[in-house]
């Protein structure tokens, strides 16, 4: 090991979170390596290529912001689904509010229990996918998460799991600084769905590592909570075996700062990956999707579909990359990112990237940014639809390509109804 350049800002990141409970040797060693990564990577700054559009200051700050708790008089999203509910309060697992951690074809335990076991399959995943995902783009908050997380759930799907596992992140304390780390293994031929909703903390650093074996399928659907001033950075690291499937969709409405990173490594042939999202922001809102899909196998398909509706000075950021490694022939990569600006104060910043080292591939990317189509608006109004309603129809239509990435029609409709709610609340 060479000389370690100690970055004091990185040291401060480590110092702001308490030490997690002592775990088994393998887990402690993973945490130790993660701490070293944090120090080696240094804190995120505006000069970093992937932090140019999003200021990480609030994520770097010593304390979480003080954020009012949003009390909602409505059914939580995904509540109607038949599910295994796992509740976290200010980032702490609540057995009282959660269902029993059992299910058919499912091994599920808390992160701390898993990390305390002397022998555990999670040792092949915990901190491993995150560490791999640091190259070529550093993701210091993910390393911080591995180093400090005490909370989270470890799930192994051994067959088709019919009930989705639903994480619900509640907030009780206005200034909670939450670190959650989930570790997921989908075995060969298994099928698992994860639902997530809620803000979870005033500041929420969440990491999810997902290892999908050959022939496994993983579905992920989340809504990030409507608390206005909350900040969040999330990281998903997925490794896909052959003939496996990965799907992730994120709905974000409100939130002062959201940075969602998804790092997907397609390692086996004939696999598919889809990562998509819809966001709606009004005012003091910055939403950043930073996606990195690596094709390291042949005959695989990946899709990135992101739509952002922005008003009153809100900012949307998209940084999406498709890397096709040598030998990843017959890759089919698709990427679209679009911003719908409802006024002239809002911004959409996009950086699509393709890097291709195989010669028989089809990759397409598109990025657009514009206002609501006046011609279409007039057409709708000329048939009697009031302006506000017509504009909301156009907003929903704009978002629909992303919503269509959701496999379950019922869940997609639940998401649509939340979008309608937002559009109506924000179109006065």
């Amino acid at each position: 090991m060479g000389e370690l350049k100690v970055d004091s800002a990185a040291g401060a990141l480590l110092a702001r979170h308490g030490a997690p409970r002592l775990a088994a040797a393998w887990a402690e060693s993973a945490r130790h390596a993660a701490r070293e990564r944090v120090l080696a990577l240094g804190a995120a700054g505006r000069r970093d290529e992937y932090w140019r559009f999003t200021n990480p200051a609030a994520l770097n700050a010593a304390d979480a912001p003080d954020v009012e708790i949003l009390e909602l008089d409505e059914t939580p999203v995904f509540d109607a689904a038949d599910k295994l509910l796992v509740v976290f309060e200010d980032g702490v697992y609540s057995p009282a509010l959660s269902d029993d951690l059992t299910g058919e074809n499912l091994e599920i335990s808390t992160l701390s229990d898993a990390l305390n076991s002397d022998i555990h399959w999670a040792s092949d995943v915990f901190g491993v996918l995150e560490a791999k995902g640091q190259n070529p783009v550093p993701r210091v908050f993910a390393a911080l998460n591995t180093a400090k997380a005490d909370q989270g759930v470890v799930i192994r799907a051994t067959g088709i799991v019919t009930k989705p596992v639903a994480f619900r992140y509640l907030r009780k304390n206005t200034q909670s600084d939450v670190v959650i780390h989930h570790v997921i293994r989908v075995e060969s031929g298994a099928d698992l769905s994860i639902l997530e909703n809620g803000a979870g903390g005033a500041r929420h650093n969440k990491c999810m590592e997902v290892d999908i074996a050959d022939g496994g399928s993983f579905h992920h659907l989340r809504a990030q909570g409507r608390d206005h001033a909350r900040i969040a950075n999330t990281q998903i690291f997925a490794r896909l075996g052959a003939e496996s499937h990965f799907k992730s969709f994120t709905l974000t409405v409100n939130g002062k700062l959201t940075r969602n990173e998804v790092v997907i490594d397609i390692m086996g042939d004939h696999s598919t990956a889809s990562v998509s999202g819809a966001c709606l922001g009004d005012g003091d809102f910055l939403h950043d999707d930073t996606i990195f899909v690596t094709h390291d196998a042949a005959h695989c398909e990946s899709r990135q579909v992101f739509k952002k509706v922005l008003k009153n000075g809100a900012t949307g950021v998209f940084q999406g990359k498709i890397l096709v490694k040598p030998g990843a022939q017959k890759t089919d990569g698709y990427q679209i990112s679009q911003g719908l600006l409802l006024d002239e104060d809002s911004n959409f910043l996009a950086k699509p990237e393709l890097e291709i080292y195989a010669d028989d591939v089809a990759c397409s990317h598109g990025s657009t940014c514009g206002a609501v189509d006046e011609g279409a608006l007039f057409y709708l109004m000329s048939r009697g639809v009031p302006r506000r309603q017509a504009q909301n129809m156009m907003i929903l239509a704009f978002l629909d390509e992303a919503i269509q990435e959701i496999e379950s029609e019922a869940l997609a409709d639940d998401i649509r109804s939340r979008l309608v709610g937002w559009a109506e609340r924000h179109s006065a």
Binding site: D373, E374, G375, A376, F378, Y379, L380, M381, S382, R383, G384, V385, P386, R387, Q389, A390, M393, M394, L396, A397, F398, L399, D400, E401
Partner: protein
């Protein structure tokens, strides 16, 4: 009861972006149940008149009124004009990806009913109504499910306009070059759709370049428009005259 139901009075309108007046004092009266046709050379202001009446952005009304049952449409938002009973069949119907045709129709019908203080149609009632009307226009279920006008052929788009007209049951219909881009069969189908809506009370203003459409939709009155004004008004024979001699004679006659 108000005798003249649709009336354009001394309408002068300009393009917002350039200081150019397109309509230069247009007058027109249409009684209940009448079908009027407007013909005129390119650039005479026919389409501008229809857009100004319907409330499209980009135009400035310099002077005049457009009255429907005595109320000035120019004071209203486009959706209020629709609820008041005006319908414009577009020359180029707009494609709206992501909005289902059926959803659009139902939203429009119910928005108008709501604005008029009538009860909204429930899903079943609406479906029954739209299916019956679509059938007569040879619009299949697939077309209703697709996004509004997306991937529709020229004929399908125009049939879709007539379907909307049939569903919304307006008092006053303006058809802006509904015959453009239609083959003979499609024109016949669209005309039959329009004729089915002639009930002695509903009025129509048909904008066209060709006499042929007027063989199918027989007008009571024909107007010739040039340089932003009506320059001549007559019976159906006026359309035939234009077909044979063009506009040049008429325009010199007036000048």
């Amino acid at each position: 009861m108000e005798e003249k139901m649709f009336e354009i009075k001394n309408l002068k309108a300009s393009l917002e972006d350039e200081d150019k007046q397109i309509l230069k004092g247009m007058d027109l009266k249409i009684n209940p149940g009448e079908v009027h046709a407007i013909m005129g050379p390119n650039g005479s202001g026919k389409s501008t008149m229809s857009y100004v009446a319907a409330g499209k952005g980009g135009y400035v009304v310099d002077e005049g009124e457009v009255l429907l049952d005595g109320a000035n449409l120019l004071d209203m938002e486009p959706d209020e004009r629709a609820a008041a009973g005006l319908f414009l069949a577009f020359q180029y119907p707009v494609e709206i990806p992501g909005v289902g045709n059926m959803t659009f129709l139902r939203t429009a019908v119910n928005a108008q009913r709501k604005m008029r203080g009538e009860e909204e149609l429930n899903a079943a009632e609406f479906l029954k109504l739209v299916r019956a009307k679509a059938k007569s226009l040879k619009i299949d279920a697939d077309m209703l499910k697709r996004p509004v006008n997306v991937g529709f052929s020229g004929g399908e788009k125009k049939r879709n306009e007539i379907l909307q007209m049939a569903m919304l049951e307006p008092k006053m219909c303006i058809l802006d070059e509904t015959d453009s881009g239609l083959d003979v069969d499609a024109m016949k189908l669209v005309s039959e759709g329009v004729n089915a809506l002639r009930d002695g009370k509903r009025s129509f203003l048909v904008i066209t370049h060709y006499q042929r459409l007027l063989d199918h939709i027989k007008p009571d009155v024909v107007h010739i428009m040039a340089d932003g004004k009506i320059i001549k008004t007559g019976g159906p024979e006026l359309a035939l005259e234009v077909e044979h001699n063009g506009y040049a004679d008429l325009m010199t006659e007036v000048a």
